[in-house]
């Protein structure tokens, strides 16, 4: 067979929430009662169950991968990528469908699984290697190479609990990277370690690809997808919606209007009673074409709009957003009446619906995930409404300045500055 991986009509159904109430035997009742406290705990951890008690994490997905191909897998969080990888790595079983895999699957899903903090680096290499399916002789043969790759050096006989998190990850990645499987599954490992180490990991990945082995590469980093893969599949709500050369797949993914994402709406029960006369309606991010998007490109303008209703006249209102990184660092704060002329014009607002809209200019934000807090107040008089992390969105930096160097750049902004070089 020519395809090294063949996936046919793959579906994975998850049960969520409670089973339908109805006929139940005594023993089922007992086990049901036994499980009640556990389900109560689970309900806290996971979103409230739908009316339906099952969801399709994957729905009738079919594709194949040729030997030596590097295939990108793109999709938003919860689209089903992780489920697909888990089934491919045999961690969980599909509900329907079949897969044929012609070779050993090595997974960099979670590096360092099975590492024990009390054991030394040397001991963990052997343990982790065995967990990943390597033979002892195989680990012994590659041992020096692994140590060298990890840059652990003289700390090899120190318990890993004394390692810095960087050293720990380097060692873990080094073991996984030396598994030499026919098929390598890589999921977001590039997010770990410093720039230097990331370069090494990317190098290792392209080595693997050049040796004729197959790589499945999952990432939110579109630049990395473009750089490392020729072809990609896009997964959305459990379904494979696009398979195309990576450039086209990335475009499809970035431009697809995700109606439910990139928007936060407030139901009447979510608005605090003391917010009146201010009623928030929706907060949205729009791309340049006006579609509501979850991921904006840093090279294009992004529109942030806050829609609200005033049920009685308000004086001195200012409506604003606080932009933070997903890690919580403040980026900027801005209000709709920052301009004194605007403040004068909108000092008194009559009852009715409003949209306060601003544009984040192109070449402002660096790659990453951001969150918006909203705030509506009359300065020094009253705060009507505030919500933290009302909406999150991603910034993709494809096409940003300096992208010919594949290294992440520190900093929350990514301005396009005008440089001049003078020869003296």
């Amino acid at each position: 067979m020519s395809a090294i991986i063949r996936v046919e009509h793959l579906s994975k159904r998850y049960r969520i929430g409670l089973a339908p109430q109805g006929y139940r035997t005594l023993s089922e009742n007992i086990t049901h009662a036994m499980g009640a406290p556990i389900r109560a705990i689970r309900r806290v951890q996971t979103p409230a169950p739908d009316a339906l008690d099952t969801i399709y994490a994957l729905n009738d997905v079919s594709f194949d991968v040729q030997k030596g191909q590097v295939l990108g897998i793109i999709g938003r969080n919860g689209a089903g990528k992780s489920t697909l990888l888990k089934i491919l790595s045999r961690i969980t079983e599909p509900t329907e469908g079949e897969i044929w895999i012609n070779g050993r699957v090595g997974s960099l899903l979670e590096v360092g699984t099975g590492f024990h903090p009390e054991l030394t680096g040397r001991e963990n290499i052997f343990l982790n290697g065995a967990i990943l399916g390597m033979k002892r002789s195989e680990i012994a043969r590659k041992f020096d190479e692994i140590v060298e790759f990890s840059e652990i050096g003289q700390f090899i006989d120190t318990p890993v609990k004394r390692y810095s998190s960087g050293m720990y990850l380097r060692l873990a990645f080094a073991v996984a990277a030396h598994l030499e499987p026919e098929i390598l599954v890589v999921d977001e490992v590039l997010a770990v370690g410093d720039a230097e180490f990331q370069r090494k990991c990317l190098g290792k990945m392209s080595d693997v690809a050049q040796q004729g082995r197959t790589v499945l590469f999952v990432s939110h980093n579109m630049s990395a997808i473009l750089r490392l893969t020729q072809e990609s599949i896009v997964i959305e709500k459990g379904q494979l919606v696009k398979r195309a050369p990576s450039a086209a797949a990335v475009d499809f993914y970035l431009s697809a209007g995700h109606s439910s994402d990139g928007e936060r709406t407030w139901g009447s029960d979510e608005i605090p009673l003391d917010a009146a006369p201010f009623r928030p309606v929706a907060l949205r991010i729009r791309g340049p074409k006006g579609t509501v998007v979850e991921t904006v490109r840093s090279t294009e303008p992004a529109v942030v709009e806050f829609e609200y209703e005033l049920t009685s006249p308000v004086t001195g209102l200012r409506v604003g957003i606080y932009l933070n990184t997903a890690r919580g660092e403040a980026v900027f704060t801005t209000f709709d009446t920052d301009d004194p002329l605007m403040f004068e014009r909108f000092t008194n607002r009559n009852p009715g619906r409003y949209i306060s809209r601003c544009i984040i200019p192109p070449d402002t934000l660096n790659s990453g995930r951001y969150s918006l807090n909203v705030n509506a107040s009359s300065y020094r008089i009253r705060r009507y409404f505030a919500e933290e992390q009302a909406l999150e969105f991603n910034v993709d930096i494809t096409g940003a300045p300096g992208m010919h160097w594949p290294e992440p750049r520190p900093g929350v902004t990514r301005p396009r500055l005008e440089w001049k070089i003078e020869a003296l």
Partner: protein, 288 residues
């Protein structure tokens, strides 16, 4: 379900939903046999780290229990023993396989939940976890056994016991295996249930205590009335403890219908445990 077919040195892995009863897939277990070794080795290396007494704990636990039982049951309650064997070795010989059993039962039952991150992130035959937990107790058992030899020599010198090594010792591996098979059988059920019902974590200490009193650890099984002996032997640990007392201390031989019942129960527990475990295995990563 996934099967591996080795053909022309490349393995074809076929993944599809398991229908009905799953096969044991012993081939997979064999491929991963080194992992069993590494898991046992890891547990041994790690277990007594950051303890002052270290590996002495493996000996102290049954030894201190023996001291307590000897004071309360042997000395104060005057519990009779078989053939007048001194109470301390009488109970210590029972505590040996019993400690092995409870440790194996406890560790193996908790093995899946205790290794959640492995179960949810990496493929390997899940049976390895309870299996290596059960086998891991043998080292502790070996250490505690050395203490037994010491005790037997001590009581041979001070009187009350005659220390001889006889052919019955050859039966010991059988009784050890019987204890481990029972522990593994029960643990396969409990570990798979534990994935879904954390209640198992609370049942385990109680279960270990229960087993201690329905097995002849602090008393002699001859105290059980004749008509109840068969029912009593349903607990395989009865056969194990009596076997140890017979082989090492010259107590009455347990070989007979009782031991057969114990053995059959242990095998049924193991077989049903394996079936249940394999059946639940497919959803471990989703429900754990």
């Amino acid at each position: 379900m996934s099967t591996e077919i080795t053909r022309h040195e490349t393995k074809i892995i076929h993944i599809k939903p398991t229908q009905g009863w799953a096969s044991l897939n012993l081939r997979d277990l064999w491929t991963y046999r080194e992992l069993i070794y590494f898991m046992i080795w890891r547990d041994l290396k790690v277990r007594y780290k950051q303890t002052v007494l270290g590996v002495t704990w493996a000996i102290l636990q049954p030894f201190l229990q023996m001291v307590v039982f000897s004071i309360f049951f042997g000395y104060l309650a005057g519990m009779p023993t078989d053939n007048g064997i001194p109470y301390p070795i009488f109970t210590y010989v029972a505590l040996l396989p019993f400690t092995l059993f409870t440790k194996a039962l406890n560790d193996a039952s908790r093995s899946l939940v205790g290794h959640q991150n492995m179960v949810t992130k990496i493929y390997f035959p899940r049976l390895i976890l309870p299996l290596s937990s059960v086998l891991g107790g043998i080292v502790d058992f070996g250490l505690a056994f050395i203490v037994l030899i010491g005790l037997m020599i001590y009581y041979s010198i001070t009187g009350g016991f005659h220390f001889i090594i006889n052919a019955a010792w050859l039966w010991l591996p059988f009784f050890i295996i019987l204890a481990l098979v029972t522990a593994l059988g029960v643990a396969l059920w409990l570990s798979a249930l534990y994935v879904q019902y954390r209640d198992v974590g609370y049942i385990l200490p109680f279960l270990a205590e229960l087993f201690k009193f329905i097995s002849p650890v602090v008393y002699s099984s001859t105290m059980i009335p004749e008509q109840w002996q068969m029912l009593y032997s349903i607990n395989p640990m009865v056969g194990v403890v009596n076997g140890f007392r017979w082989a090492l201390l010259g107590a009455p031989s347990p070989i007979g219908m009782g031991l057969l019942v114990s053995t059959i129960v242990a095998i049924v527990l193991l077989a049903s445990g394996l079936v249940y475990f394999r059946r639940m295995e497919r959803t471990f990563a989703d429900t754990i």
